[in-house]
Symmetry: C2
Subunit: 252 residues, 2 copies
DNA sequence: AAGTGGTCTAGACCACAAG
DNA sequence: TTGTGGTCTAGACCACTTT
Protein backbone atom coordinates (compact mmCIF):
# COMPACT_ATOMS: atom_id res chain seq x y z
CA UNK A 1 0.00 0.00 0.00
CA UNK A 2 1.42 3.34 -1.04
CA UNK A 3 1.41 5.46 2.08
CA UNK A 4 -1.22 8.00 1.09
CA UNK A 5 -0.30 11.40 2.46
CA UNK A 6 2.60 13.16 4.09
CA UNK A 7 3.13 10.84 7.03
CA UNK A 8 6.69 10.90 8.18
CA UNK A 9 5.87 8.67 11.11
CA UNK A 10 5.18 4.92 11.00
CA UNK A 11 1.53 3.96 11.35
CA UNK A 12 2.14 1.92 14.48
CA UNK A 13 3.75 4.94 16.14
CA UNK A 14 0.83 7.17 15.27
CA UNK A 15 -1.57 4.64 16.74
CA UNK A 16 0.59 4.31 19.85
CA UNK A 17 0.71 8.08 20.20
CA UNK A 18 -3.07 8.32 19.98
CA UNK A 19 -3.47 5.78 22.74
CA UNK A 20 -0.73 7.32 24.89
CA UNK A 21 -2.31 10.74 24.70
CA UNK A 22 -5.70 9.30 25.56
CA UNK A 23 -4.17 7.68 28.62
CA UNK A 24 -2.38 10.84 29.70
CA UNK A 25 -5.60 12.81 29.17
CA UNK A 26 -7.29 10.50 31.63
CA UNK A 27 -9.60 8.86 29.10
CA UNK A 28 -8.23 5.57 30.37
CA UNK A 29 -7.27 5.21 34.03
CA UNK A 30 -5.03 2.54 35.57
CA UNK A 31 -6.73 -0.83 35.26
CA UNK A 32 -8.83 0.12 32.24
CA UNK A 33 -8.77 -2.08 29.18
CA UNK A 34 -7.40 -0.45 26.03
CA UNK A 35 -8.83 -1.06 22.54
CA UNK A 36 -7.61 -4.52 21.46
CA UNK A 37 -5.95 -5.67 18.27
CA UNK A 38 -9.28 -6.17 16.51
CA UNK A 39 -10.50 -2.70 17.50
CA UNK A 40 -7.36 -1.04 16.22
CA UNK A 41 -7.47 -2.99 12.93
CA UNK A 42 -10.99 -1.72 12.38
CA UNK A 43 -10.65 1.87 13.55
CA UNK A 44 -7.26 2.50 11.89
CA UNK A 45 -7.58 0.17 8.91
CA UNK A 46 -4.31 -1.69 9.52
CA UNK A 47 -3.21 -5.31 9.61
CA UNK A 48 -3.07 -7.35 12.74
CA UNK A 49 0.70 -7.16 13.12
CA UNK A 50 0.62 -3.38 12.88
CA UNK A 51 -2.03 -2.98 15.55
CA UNK A 52 -0.03 -5.42 17.62
CA UNK A 53 3.13 -3.39 17.17
CA UNK A 54 1.34 -0.27 18.40
CA UNK A 55 0.22 -2.02 21.57
CA UNK A 56 3.75 -3.36 21.95
CA UNK A 57 5.11 0.18 22.07
CA UNK A 58 2.97 1.02 25.07
CA UNK A 59 3.95 -2.19 26.82
CA UNK A 60 7.65 -1.53 26.22
CA UNK A 61 7.17 1.91 27.71
CA UNK A 62 5.70 0.35 30.81
CA UNK A 63 2.46 2.30 30.29
CA UNK A 64 0.34 -0.74 29.50
CA UNK A 65 0.45 -4.46 30.20
CA UNK A 66 -1.18 -7.39 28.44
CA UNK A 67 -3.06 -10.22 30.04
CA UNK A 68 -3.31 -13.31 27.86
CA UNK A 69 -6.79 -13.92 26.57
CA UNK A 70 -8.12 -10.83 28.28
CA UNK A 71 -6.72 -7.66 26.75
CA UNK A 72 -4.21 -4.87 27.19
CA UNK A 73 -4.62 -2.74 30.30
CA UNK A 74 -3.33 0.55 31.65
CA UNK A 75 -0.73 0.06 34.37
CA UNK A 76 -0.53 1.76 37.74
CA UNK A 77 2.55 3.00 39.60
CA UNK A 78 2.31 2.74 43.38
CA UNK A 79 5.81 2.37 44.71
CA UNK A 80 7.24 1.45 48.07
CA UNK A 81 9.55 3.98 49.64
CA UNK A 82 12.98 2.69 50.58
CA UNK A 83 14.98 5.01 52.81
CA UNK A 84 18.70 4.63 52.34
CA UNK A 85 19.56 6.66 55.42
CA UNK A 86 17.13 5.87 58.19
CA UNK A 87 18.84 7.58 61.07
CA UNK A 88 17.78 11.05 59.97
CA UNK A 89 14.41 11.88 61.38
CA UNK A 90 11.81 12.29 58.69
CA UNK A 91 9.86 14.86 60.66
CA UNK A 92 12.72 17.32 60.74
CA UNK A 93 12.44 17.87 57.01
CA UNK A 94 8.79 17.08 56.70
CA UNK A 95 7.86 20.46 55.29
CA UNK A 96 8.94 19.30 51.86
CA UNK A 97 6.64 16.55 50.78
CA UNK A 98 7.93 13.91 48.43
CA UNK A 99 7.18 14.12 44.78
CA UNK A 100 5.93 10.60 44.13
CA UNK A 101 3.03 9.31 46.11
CA UNK A 102 4.04 6.17 47.89
CA UNK A 103 1.30 4.30 49.62
CA UNK A 104 3.21 2.15 52.06
CA UNK A 105 2.35 0.25 55.23
CA UNK A 106 -0.76 -1.87 55.69
CA UNK A 107 0.74 -4.35 53.27
CA UNK A 108 2.35 -7.67 54.19
CA UNK A 109 5.95 -8.49 53.37
CA UNK A 110 7.01 -12.13 53.11
CA UNK A 111 10.57 -13.40 52.82
CA UNK A 112 11.02 -16.21 50.39
CA UNK A 113 13.54 -18.44 48.62
CA UNK A 114 16.06 -18.19 51.45
CA UNK A 115 19.39 -19.90 50.84
CA UNK A 116 22.63 -19.77 52.81
CA UNK A 117 25.74 -21.33 51.31
CA UNK A 118 29.51 -21.08 51.46
CA UNK A 119 31.27 -20.57 48.14
CA UNK A 120 34.47 -19.25 46.65
CA UNK A 121 34.19 -15.49 46.21
CA UNK A 122 33.27 -14.32 42.73
CA UNK A 123 35.98 -12.08 41.33
CA UNK A 124 34.04 -8.80 41.60
CA UNK A 125 33.06 -9.58 45.21
CA UNK A 126 36.58 -10.49 46.24
CA UNK A 127 37.79 -7.16 44.84
CA UNK A 128 35.26 -5.19 46.88
CA UNK A 129 35.70 -7.19 50.08
CA UNK A 130 39.47 -6.88 49.73
CA UNK A 131 40.07 -10.63 49.97
CA UNK A 132 41.79 -13.08 47.66
CA UNK A 133 39.76 -14.40 44.74
CA UNK A 134 38.28 -17.79 45.63
CA UNK A 135 38.59 -17.15 49.35
CA UNK A 136 35.42 -18.58 50.85
CA UNK A 137 32.45 -16.26 51.39
CA UNK A 138 29.15 -16.82 53.13
CA UNK A 139 26.38 -16.22 50.60
CA UNK A 140 22.91 -15.32 51.88
CA UNK A 141 20.21 -14.91 49.26
CA UNK A 142 16.48 -14.31 49.63
CA UNK A 143 13.44 -12.81 47.92
CA UNK A 144 10.93 -10.31 49.31
CA UNK A 145 7.29 -10.65 48.35
CA UNK A 146 4.83 -7.85 49.03
CA UNK A 147 1.14 -8.76 49.04
CA UNK A 148 1.91 -11.72 46.81
CA UNK A 149 3.98 -9.67 44.38
CA UNK A 150 7.77 -10.28 44.45
CA UNK A 151 9.56 -6.94 44.63
CA UNK A 152 13.17 -7.52 45.63
CA UNK A 153 15.95 -10.10 45.24
CA UNK A 154 18.92 -9.81 47.57
CA UNK A 155 22.20 -11.66 47.83
CA UNK A 156 24.76 -10.72 50.43
CA UNK A 157 28.35 -11.86 50.67
CA UNK A 158 30.46 -11.94 53.84
CA UNK A 159 34.01 -13.25 54.36
CA UNK A 160 33.65 -16.82 55.60
CA UNK A 161 36.65 -16.41 57.87
CA UNK A 162 34.85 -13.57 59.64
CA UNK A 163 31.43 -15.14 60.15
CA UNK A 164 32.38 -18.80 60.65
CA UNK A 165 30.50 -20.33 63.54
CA UNK A 166 28.14 -17.37 64.02
CA UNK A 167 24.41 -17.29 63.41
CA UNK A 168 25.10 -15.49 60.16
CA UNK A 169 25.73 -18.89 58.61
CA UNK A 170 22.22 -19.98 59.67
CA UNK A 171 18.98 -19.20 57.86
CA UNK A 172 17.74 -17.42 60.98
CA UNK A 173 20.33 -14.87 62.04
CA UNK A 174 18.50 -14.09 65.28
CA UNK A 175 17.41 -10.77 66.85
CA UNK A 176 18.89 -7.74 65.14
CA UNK A 177 19.89 -9.80 62.12
CA UNK A 178 23.22 -9.95 60.37
CA UNK A 179 24.41 -6.53 61.51
CA UNK A 180 23.85 -7.30 65.18
CA UNK A 181 25.86 -10.51 64.78
CA UNK A 182 28.64 -8.63 63.02
CA UNK A 183 28.78 -6.28 65.99
CA UNK A 184 29.25 -9.24 68.32
CA UNK A 185 32.12 -10.36 66.12
CA UNK A 186 33.81 -6.98 66.50
CA UNK A 187 32.92 -5.93 62.99
CA UNK A 188 30.01 -3.58 63.56
CA UNK A 189 29.14 -1.73 60.34
CA UNK A 190 29.63 1.99 60.80
CA UNK A 191 29.57 3.16 57.21
CA UNK A 192 27.72 2.23 54.06
CA UNK A 193 28.11 2.80 50.38
CA UNK A 194 25.29 2.18 47.93
CA UNK A 195 25.84 2.09 44.20
CA UNK A 196 22.68 2.35 42.13
CA UNK A 197 22.08 1.64 38.47
CA UNK A 198 19.24 0.50 36.24
CA UNK A 199 18.82 -1.74 33.22
CA UNK A 200 16.33 -4.12 31.66
CA UNK A 201 16.05 -7.44 33.50
CA UNK A 202 17.52 -10.77 32.47
CA UNK A 203 15.06 -13.54 31.77
CA UNK A 204 15.74 -15.07 35.17
CA UNK A 205 15.21 -11.77 36.96
CA UNK A 206 11.98 -11.17 35.05
CA UNK A 207 10.71 -14.59 36.12
CA UNK A 208 11.71 -14.34 39.77
CA UNK A 209 10.17 -10.87 40.08
CA UNK A 210 7.16 -11.58 37.83
CA UNK A 211 7.97 -8.50 35.80
CA UNK A 212 5.81 -7.50 32.89
CA UNK A 213 7.19 -6.06 29.69
CA UNK A 214 8.67 -2.59 29.85
CA UNK A 215 9.72 -2.83 33.48
CA UNK A 216 13.39 -2.14 34.25
CA UNK A 217 15.13 -3.33 37.38
CA UNK A 218 17.09 -1.17 39.79
CA UNK A 219 20.37 -2.66 40.98
CA UNK A 220 21.74 -1.62 44.35
CA UNK A 221 25.15 -2.79 45.47
CA UNK A 222 25.53 -1.97 49.13
CA UNK A 223 28.88 -2.28 50.87
CA UNK A 224 29.06 -2.20 54.66
CA UNK A 225 32.29 -1.03 56.33
CA UNK A 226 33.43 -1.66 59.87
CA UNK A 227 35.92 0.64 61.60
CA UNK A 228 39.03 1.64 59.71
CA UNK A 229 37.23 1.21 56.44
CA UNK A 230 37.25 -2.57 56.55
CA UNK A 231 34.56 -3.91 54.16
CA UNK A 232 32.57 -6.66 55.85
CA UNK A 233 29.56 -7.22 53.63
CA UNK A 234 28.49 -6.74 50.03
CA UNK A 235 24.76 -6.89 49.36
CA UNK A 236 23.59 -7.05 45.76
CA UNK A 237 19.90 -6.22 45.39
CA UNK A 238 17.63 -6.36 42.36
CA UNK A 239 14.44 -4.28 42.66
CA UNK A 240 11.31 -4.17 40.56
CA UNK A 241 11.45 -0.55 39.41
CA UNK A 242 7.66 -0.33 39.35
CA UNK A 243 7.55 -1.13 43.07
CA UNK A 244 10.14 1.23 44.49
CA UNK A 245 11.21 4.80 45.03
CA UNK A 246 14.58 5.16 46.72
CA UNK A 247 15.14 8.03 49.11
CA UNK A 248 18.47 9.43 50.29
CA UNK A 249 18.69 12.26 52.79
CA UNK A 250 21.95 14.01 53.57
CA UNK A 251 23.40 17.27 54.86
CA UNK A 252 25.48 19.73 52.90
CA UNK B 1 4.70 -26.12 10.15
CA UNK B 2 3.83 -28.50 12.94
CA UNK B 3 6.29 -27.83 15.74
CA UNK B 4 8.26 -31.05 15.63
CA UNK B 5 9.34 -31.99 19.13
CA UNK B 6 8.68 -31.01 22.71
CA UNK B 7 9.45 -27.32 22.53
CA UNK B 8 7.71 -25.50 25.29
CA UNK B 9 9.48 -22.28 24.42
CA UNK B 10 8.74 -20.01 21.44
CA UNK B 11 11.25 -20.25 18.61
CA UNK B 12 12.15 -16.59 18.83
CA UNK B 13 13.00 -17.01 22.51
CA UNK B 14 15.21 -20.02 21.79
CA UNK B 15 17.07 -18.05 19.15
CA UNK B 16 17.43 -15.07 21.48
CA UNK B 17 18.72 -17.35 24.21
CA UNK B 18 21.33 -18.82 21.90
CA UNK B 19 22.59 -15.39 20.99
CA UNK B 20 22.49 -14.14 24.59
CA UNK B 21 24.54 -17.07 25.80
CA UNK B 22 27.04 -16.56 23.01
CA UNK B 23 27.41 -12.94 24.08
CA UNK B 24 27.79 -13.81 27.75
CA UNK B 25 30.34 -16.49 26.82
CA UNK B 26 32.39 -13.80 25.14
CA UNK B 27 31.93 -15.09 21.59
CA UNK B 28 30.73 -11.59 20.77
CA UNK B 29 32.28 -8.62 22.54
CA UNK B 30 30.86 -5.06 22.75
CA UNK B 31 30.83 -3.53 19.29
CA UNK B 32 30.68 -6.86 17.44
CA UNK B 33 28.01 -7.42 14.84
CA UNK B 34 25.54 -10.19 15.59
CA UNK B 35 24.12 -12.56 12.94
CA UNK B 36 21.50 -10.60 10.97
CA UNK B 37 17.95 -11.45 10.06
CA UNK B 38 18.98 -13.33 6.93
CA UNK B 39 21.57 -15.36 8.85
CA UNK B 40 19.05 -16.38 11.47
CA UNK B 41 16.43 -17.29 8.85
CA UNK B 42 18.95 -19.63 7.23
CA UNK B 43 20.57 -21.15 10.32
CA UNK B 44 17.33 -21.63 12.26
CA UNK B 45 14.93 -22.16 9.37
CA UNK B 46 12.44 -19.49 10.43
CA UNK B 47 10.57 -16.66 8.75
CA UNK B 48 11.85 -13.12 8.65
CA UNK B 49 9.48 -11.82 11.34
CA UNK B 50 10.56 -14.56 13.72
CA UNK B 51 14.27 -13.85 13.31
CA UNK B 52 13.41 -10.20 13.73
CA UNK B 53 11.53 -10.90 16.95
CA UNK B 54 14.56 -12.71 18.36
CA UNK B 55 16.82 -9.75 17.67
CA UNK B 56 14.14 -7.51 19.17
CA UNK B 57 14.36 -9.39 22.45
CA UNK B 58 18.05 -8.60 22.81
CA UNK B 59 17.47 -4.97 21.94
CA UNK B 60 14.69 -4.66 24.50
CA UNK B 61 17.04 -6.15 27.08
CA UNK B 62 19.57 -3.47 26.29
CA UNK B 63 22.13 -6.14 25.33
CA UNK B 64 22.18 -5.26 21.63
CA UNK B 65 21.42 -2.25 19.49
CA UNK B 66 20.54 -1.96 15.82
CA UNK B 67 22.00 0.43 13.30
CA UNK B 68 19.85 0.93 10.24
CA UNK B 69 21.36 -0.55 7.13
CA UNK B 70 24.33 -1.91 9.04
CA UNK B 71 23.29 -4.63 11.45
CA UNK B 72 22.67 -5.44 15.10
CA UNK B 73 25.59 -4.91 17.45
CA UNK B 74 26.54 -5.82 21.01
CA UNK B 75 26.30 -2.88 23.39
CA UNK B 76 28.81 -1.73 25.99
CA UNK B 77 28.21 -0.35 29.48
CA UNK B 78 30.70 2.28 30.64
CA UNK B 79 28.93 4.49 33.14
CA UNK B 80 29.77 7.79 34.76
CA UNK B 81 29.89 7.86 38.53
CA UNK B 82 27.64 10.40 40.21
CA UNK B 83 28.34 10.95 43.89
CA UNK B 84 25.28 12.01 45.82
CA UNK B 85 27.18 12.97 48.94
CA UNK B 86 30.41 14.69 48.04
CA UNK B 87 31.47 15.93 51.42
CA UNK B 88 32.59 12.50 52.58
CA UNK B 89 36.14 11.91 51.53
CA UNK B 90 36.44 9.09 49.08
CA UNK B 91 39.87 8.04 50.30
CA UNK B 92 38.63 7.29 53.79
CA UNK B 93 36.65 4.34 52.50
CA UNK B 94 38.81 3.56 49.55
CA UNK B 95 39.64 0.06 50.74
CA UNK B 96 36.40 -1.20 49.27
CA UNK B 97 36.54 -0.70 45.55
CA UNK B 98 33.34 -0.13 43.69
CA UNK B 99 31.63 -2.96 41.94
CA UNK B 100 31.03 -1.37 38.54
CA UNK B 101 33.95 -0.09 36.60
CA UNK B 102 33.38 3.54 35.83
CA UNK B 103 35.85 5.11 33.50
CA UNK B 104 35.39 8.77 34.24
CA UNK B 105 37.47 11.90 33.69
CA UNK B 106 39.34 12.64 30.48
CA UNK B 107 35.97 13.19 28.82
CA UNK B 108 34.43 16.53 27.97
CA UNK B 109 31.09 17.64 29.36
CA UNK B 110 29.08 20.28 27.52
CA UNK B 111 25.98 22.05 28.80
CA UNK B 112 23.28 22.50 26.25
CA UNK B 113 19.69 23.61 25.65
CA UNK B 114 19.77 26.07 28.53
CA UNK B 115 16.51 27.86 29.25
CA UNK B 116 15.47 30.07 32.15
CA UNK B 117 11.85 31.10 32.47
CA UNK B 118 9.33 32.18 35.05
CA UNK B 119 6.12 30.17 35.19
CA UNK B 120 3.27 29.26 37.51
CA UNK B 121 4.33 26.33 39.66
CA UNK B 122 3.11 22.91 38.50
CA UNK B 123 0.97 21.30 41.16
CA UNK B 124 3.50 18.66 42.25
CA UNK B 125 6.26 21.27 42.52
CA UNK B 126 4.12 23.68 44.53
CA UNK B 127 3.36 20.86 46.95
CA UNK B 128 7.03 20.10 47.50
CA UNK B 129 8.15 23.73 47.70
CA UNK B 130 5.34 24.44 50.13
CA UNK B 131 3.94 27.33 48.11
CA UNK B 132 0.52 27.99 46.63
CA UNK B 133 -0.27 26.32 43.32
CA UNK B 134 0.34 28.77 40.48
CA UNK B 135 2.66 30.90 42.57
CA UNK B 136 5.45 31.89 40.20
CA UNK B 137 8.61 29.76 40.10
CA UNK B 138 11.90 30.30 38.33
CA UNK B 139 12.45 27.35 36.01
CA UNK B 140 16.01 26.52 34.94
CA UNK B 141 16.41 23.66 32.46
CA UNK B 142 19.49 22.35 30.66
CA UNK B 143 21.01 19.28 29.07
CA UNK B 144 24.42 17.72 29.72
CA UNK B 145 26.29 16.19 26.80
CA UNK B 146 29.32 13.96 27.39
CA UNK B 147 31.68 13.47 24.45
CA UNK B 148 28.83 14.25 22.09
CA UNK B 149 26.41 11.86 23.82
CA UNK B 150 23.59 13.49 25.83
CA UNK B 151 23.43 11.88 29.26
CA UNK B 152 21.31 14.05 31.54
CA UNK B 153 18.32 16.40 31.43
CA UNK B 154 17.77 18.67 34.41
CA UNK B 155 15.04 21.11 35.34
CA UNK B 156 15.14 22.98 38.61
CA UNK B 157 12.40 25.04 40.19
CA UNK B 158 12.87 27.86 42.72
CA UNK B 159 10.27 30.17 44.26
CA UNK B 160 10.26 33.34 42.14
CA UNK B 161 9.66 35.49 45.21
CA UNK B 162 12.91 34.17 46.68
CA UNK B 163 15.20 34.54 43.69
CA UNK B 164 13.76 37.66 42.03
CA UNK B 165 16.50 40.04 40.97
CA UNK B 166 19.35 37.63 41.65
CA UNK B 167 21.67 36.02 39.10
CA UNK B 168 19.64 32.85 39.48
CA UNK B 169 17.21 34.31 36.98
CA UNK B 170 20.06 34.69 34.45
CA UNK B 171 21.46 31.94 32.25
CA UNK B 172 24.85 32.44 33.88
CA UNK B 173 24.41 32.21 37.63
CA UNK B 174 28.02 33.27 38.31
CA UNK B 175 30.77 31.73 40.47
CA UNK B 176 29.53 28.97 42.74
CA UNK B 177 26.31 28.68 40.81
CA UNK B 178 22.77 28.62 42.08
CA UNK B 179 23.64 27.43 45.58
CA UNK B 180 26.13 30.24 46.17
CA UNK B 181 23.49 32.77 45.12
CA UNK B 182 20.95 31.16 47.42
CA UNK B 183 23.43 31.59 50.26
CA UNK B 184 23.69 35.30 49.51
CA UNK B 185 19.91 35.47 49.68
CA UNK B 186 19.92 33.95 53.15
CA UNK B 187 18.67 30.62 51.89
CA UNK B 188 21.80 28.52 51.86
CA UNK B 189 20.93 24.85 51.31
CA UNK B 190 21.99 22.78 54.29
CA UNK B 191 20.13 19.56 53.61
CA UNK B 192 19.19 17.54 50.56
CA UNK B 193 16.76 14.80 49.74
CA UNK B 194 17.05 12.74 46.60
CA UNK B 195 14.27 10.46 45.41
CA UNK B 196 15.30 7.93 42.79
CA UNK B 197 13.20 5.80 40.50
CA UNK B 198 13.48 4.20 37.08
CA UNK B 199 11.19 3.58 34.13
CA UNK B 200 11.24 3.39 30.36
CA UNK B 201 11.61 6.80 28.68
CA UNK B 202 8.90 8.81 26.98
CA UNK B 203 9.36 9.46 23.30
CA UNK B 204 10.57 12.98 24.04
CA UNK B 205 13.10 11.78 26.61
CA UNK B 206 14.36 9.11 24.22
CA UNK B 207 14.90 11.75 21.56
CA UNK B 208 16.58 14.34 23.76
CA UNK B 209 18.92 11.70 25.24
CA UNK B 210 19.43 9.76 21.98
CA UNK B 211 18.47 6.55 23.76
CA UNK B 212 18.46 3.27 21.92
CA UNK B 213 15.87 0.58 22.54
CA UNK B 214 15.99 -1.21 25.84
CA UNK B 215 17.48 1.70 27.76
CA UNK B 216 15.57 2.88 30.85
CA UNK B 217 15.97 6.31 32.37
CA UNK B 218 16.75 7.05 35.99
CA UNK B 219 14.71 9.87 37.53
CA UNK B 220 16.17 11.83 40.41
CA UNK B 221 14.10 14.41 42.21
CA UNK B 222 16.40 16.43 44.44
CA UNK B 223 15.01 18.82 47.03
CA UNK B 224 17.30 21.36 48.69
CA UNK B 225 16.38 22.65 52.16
CA UNK B 226 17.61 25.80 53.86
CA UNK B 227 17.59 26.14 57.63
CA UNK B 228 14.48 25.16 59.54
CA UNK B 229 13.58 22.71 56.79
CA UNK B 230 12.51 25.38 54.34
CA UNK B 231 12.54 23.88 50.81
CA UNK B 232 14.21 26.26 48.38
CA UNK B 233 14.79 24.23 45.23
CA UNK B 234 13.41 21.17 43.46
CA UNK B 235 15.60 19.68 40.74
CA UNK B 236 14.12 17.03 38.48
CA UNK B 237 16.76 15.07 36.57
CA UNK B 238 16.43 12.46 33.86
CA UNK B 239 19.51 10.27 33.36
CA UNK B 240 20.44 7.83 30.63
CA UNK B 241 20.71 4.65 32.70
CA UNK B 242 23.44 3.30 30.42
CA UNK B 243 25.62 6.30 31.26
CA UNK B 244 25.39 6.44 35.04
CA UNK B 245 26.06 4.74 38.31
CA UNK B 246 24.82 6.65 41.36
CA UNK B 247 26.80 6.48 44.58
CA UNK B 248 25.58 7.31 48.06
CA UNK B 249 27.86 7.14 51.11
CA UNK B 250 26.54 7.45 54.64
CA UNK B 251 27.29 6.54 58.22
CA UNK B 252 25.31 4.16 60.42
C1' DA C 1 -18.49 -20.67 22.60
C1' DA C 2 -16.53 -16.43 21.65
C1' DG C 3 -12.99 -13.24 22.04
C1' DT C 4 -8.32 -12.19 23.31
C1' DG C 5 -3.41 -11.93 22.89
C1' DG C 6 0.93 -15.05 21.43
C1' DT C 7 3.26 -17.07 17.81
C1' DC C 8 4.39 -17.85 12.97
C1' DT C 9 4.55 -17.80 7.87
C1' DA C 10 5.72 -15.93 3.19
C1' DG C 11 5.68 -12.71 0.87
C1' DA C 12 6.44 -7.09 -0.18
C1' DC C 13 8.47 -2.22 -0.54
C1' DC C 14 11.35 1.20 1.64
C1' DA C 15 15.49 3.99 3.51
C1' DC C 16 19.85 3.63 4.73
C1' DA C 17 24.92 2.14 4.93
C1' DA C 18 28.73 0.04 3.07
C1' DG C 19 31.79 -1.69 -0.51
C1' DT D 1 24.86 -2.09 -6.16
C1' DT D 2 24.11 -5.13 -2.50
C1' DG D 3 22.75 -6.12 1.95
C1' DT D 4 20.82 -4.37 6.10
C1' DG D 5 17.17 -3.36 9.25
C1' DG D 6 12.20 -0.89 9.36
C1' DT D 7 7.60 -1.22 8.12
C1' DC D 8 3.51 -3.62 6.49
C1' DT D 9 0.12 -7.06 4.70
C1' DA D 10 -3.14 -11.10 4.94
C1' DG D 11 -3.64 -14.83 6.21
C1' DA D 12 -3.10 -19.07 10.05
C1' DC D 13 -3.22 -21.95 14.47
C1' DC D 14 -2.80 -21.95 19.43
C1' DA D 15 -3.64 -21.21 24.54
C1' DC D 16 -5.91 -18.69 27.44
C1' DT D 17 -9.81 -15.92 29.79
C1' DT D 18 -14.29 -14.68 30.02
C1' DT D 19 -19.16 -15.24 29.32
Amino acid sequence: MATTGGDRQPKYQRIANTLREAIQAGEYVPGDRLPGENDLMATHGVARMTARQALGVLQNEGIAESRKGAGVFVRAFRPLRRRGIQRLSREQWGAGRSIWSADIEDRTLVVDQVAVTEEPAPERIARVLDIAPDDAVCVRSRRFVLDGKPVLLATSYLPASLVAGSAITQEDTGPGGTYARLGELGAKPVHFREEVRSRMPSQDEANRLSLSMGTPVILICRTAFADEGRPVEVNEMTLDSASYVLEYDFDA
